[in-house]
Symmetry: C2
Subunit: 525 residues, 2 copies
Amino acid sequence: MNLNLYGYQNQWIIVDMGMTFGHKLGIDLIVPSIRYLEGKNILGIVATHGHEDHIGAIPYLWEKVQCPIYATPFTSILIKRKLMEAYIDDSILHTLSLNARFDLGPFDIQLITMTHSILEPNALAIRTPKGNIFHTGDWKLDPNPLIGESTDWKAIESFAKEGILAVVSDSTNALEEGSTPSEMEARHEISHAIAGHKQTVAITCFASNVARLESIVHAAHEHGRKPVIVGRSLWKMLDAAQSSGYLKNLPAVYDEDDFNSIAPSERLVVCTGSQGEPRSALFKMATGQHPRVKLAFGDVVIFSSRVIPGNEIEVSKVRNHLSRLGVHIITPRGTSLHVSGHPSQDDLKELYKWLKPRICIPVHGEHRHMKAHARIAEELGVSYTFIPQNGQALSIKEDGVEVIEEFEAIPCAVDGNQVVPLNHQTFRDRHKLMMSGVVLASLWIDKKGELLEAYVDCMGVYEVDDGMFDRLEDAVFMCYEGLTMDGNIPSLTTIEEKVRALLRQEIMTYTGKKPVCVVHVMEDK
Amino acid sequence: MNLNLYGYQNQWIIVDMGMTFGHKLGIDLIVPSIRYLEGKNILGIVATHGHEDHIGAIPYLWEKVQCPIYATPFTSILIKRKLMEAYIDDSILHTLSLNARFDLGPFDIQLITMTHSILEPNALAIRTPKGNIFHTGDWKLDPNPLIGESTDWKAIESFAKEGILAVVSDSTNALEEGSTPSEMEARHEISHAIAGHKQTVAITCFASNVARLESIVHAAHEHGRKPVIVGRSLWKMLDAAQSSGYLKNLPAVYDEDDFNSIAPSERLVVCTGSQGEPRSALFKMATGQHPRVKLAFGDVVIFSSRVIPGNEIEVSKVRNHLSRLGVHIITPRGTSLHVSGHPSQDDLKELYKWLKPRICIPVHGEHRHMKAHARIAEELGVSYTFIPQNGQALSIKEDGVEVIEEFEAIPCAVDGNQVVPLNHQTFRDRHKLMMSGVVLASLWIDKKGELLEAYVDCMGVYEVDDGMFDRLEDAVFMCYEGLTMDGNIPSLTTIEEKVRALLRQEIMTYTGKKPVCVVHVMEDK
């Protein structure tokens, strides 16, 4: 997830505000910490492009920054939807033309068109009183992006001539040799993969890759098939693309209601679910749960997508469901059925040759990707590289980069309607509950110090035999008897502690686990 | 995880009793269901080899089957340790010689040596009154397994001549073209990767691959380095190998206490942790937590292992920690630094050419692997293939396979000291607790029907502001007041229900989440 800040004399701009998916139970959606922004003068959010890891946190974090948002038309439509769903007035959203140049306080910002796996990826040429920054956003060098503009080399060249202090760039594929294949290669490979089948063919891809969708639609018509688009997010992306002027001449497409009326040999289903998401179209199709789209023995499913790390098991599950149906699966392994949207080593080299910055600050990648990126920049003669860590405030100067402040940038989970730091006690407590369950005991002691009632309830504790939970209540009575044998009535705290210790120990003996235990003691005085 | 049963006239043998790791929070270790075995006459467990997915469940499930265990020397040592740790008397463990042939009731069982990524992998030639079964266990065709015996082609040929009814075989790599490279290739590649470095080199691999360990030790000496073995499970495997007669001439090895006294250029650390396990040697080294073994800027870490699906994020984490230390990472991608232990398509073909069974029953793999395996067998002229599902009891006859019984084979988690089916209410409850936390409320009502006390405790519920939890107690009082406004005292059940609904709704309004809620009401009558 991406959120970058540029500041000058306490005037700040935010570049991107992205989210990421959690891979732990109960943590679905993670957004960046914005504690650093508290009390700061924020001039605006500039979105480089419309991927979730660049704009997805806006609906969750915007309330806390309350500033204008700037984006090009396609990205703007995607953001607008998010604002509407979060009941945020979209008058704060400003739609920029491609190649726009505008001022935000001391920052003179120019959008420079790049290529990527989504429409309208922009680099930002940020001119500041202290020097020029080239913030790449996500990019690749695609000579043939199929739809949308090509890389604006003229603007890059002209900005480079002004002299670039620092490049802040995408490191995702810095460990990959060579250059990233063009989207055109995926188009050819998809057409090839669809050819020759006699039954239904389905293909799944990332919904946001509109060029890919167009390729699939073209391939369908090329092979005498009708493209049937299945899955809400594909339709949303198609609509966003057409609303912002793309895909005007797209051949006819069909929806799931048309599926049955098209002969199997004439269907090409395009569907969501490339990551094995259990609510996606493909998962429903693979498990026979889709109300309209049914796959049969001998059908074909093509994965035009990579597996995002952390999703391996989910993807494997959906593939096995397909296999059980007798569906033939075509994965992208060893082919160009999917091509990346990020620069490989030769692409990075190419860009650095044009930009010739003094400083390289790798971002967008894990540490080893950023390190490989820095090494490449160094090889290309960049005199200073700096691998930043989350939460570092850097001073960028002619002679290098200095860390001037470090703050704890703990990512936050979107938890219900709240944004909660991942290191919060709430999650630690839930973790304990998940590991061993919970016991609630309530004790009621009368004026004479006699224990009248003891209720014990367990949740998530394994009952090893039928009487175990009942015996816990008996044990509480016996424990209390022991405590009061000498006629004294212990303090509430002592009773609570002793009963808690007893219950945890008893359950430990039965099950080998010590659950969380809460004891309520009520005493009549 | 593997557990196969063969039965004839209610006499049963168990082939392997393996475990697997859970990838969900709170579920570490999963073992197969053995409910089907209840009340059955079990003659013994035969272990094909010593990998955890073939013997790891023995300590957890043996009590329920209480039968003899049969294994070859190396595997036997590994099982013996498990029995000791579980306080099971090891007199039930019978050590077999390689190539042993013995009877278990109606089953005449012959061990046939195969090759795999561990010592002493055995196929079972099972002669029964109804036909011969070749149960492969895990295998590859390695012409050069480096240590241990080679594939016993003579025994295979001779068994094939008797006529084989069915082959039950490993499907893991049935989607891989060609043949699986020999362990010898890994040996060469490791030697190559170690060469030329000037500082500490570390290498991580699966501890159970003793041939790999030997290769690394040899490579160390070849390059003038001293092999330093770090990690308990590597030492345990080395000890098991030497105790069963292997690695008698292994060159000198060192332990972590020697690390500091060896010059960096002369160290080759062999360590556990190839899967990024947080308690492993490599993880501790990567995070600077290892008490003795320290890595420095410019050191090298070689991964001589693949990433097991589900471990991608953990492996990525340890690699990023290493990257932060400035350690150079060498992964096996595109090399033979790791080679698989399972048969690729050409290996499967080779085996079927020799065995010529009537029936092929693919096991050990996901559905799409088993399906690819079946397809290969069919191509080779096997007249009948059957892809089994967990929980199916099959009747194997001359003319094919019939499902004669299906039972619910729900895998079980090892939870504390209990073995609990994964679909048990305990796990569903813990899942709910993890998603939203828990609220515990106790109410105390006196003889007049007055609410004297109300305690509310939240665990894993996010407190959106400082007073939220206190206000919940106030809300309970107000709720009770509302319930008793007309002078009636509602039933305990009604009070419980109303208070539970109130608390869940209140918390939902604050946090957007409805926690589990337990209410105890005590009434003085």
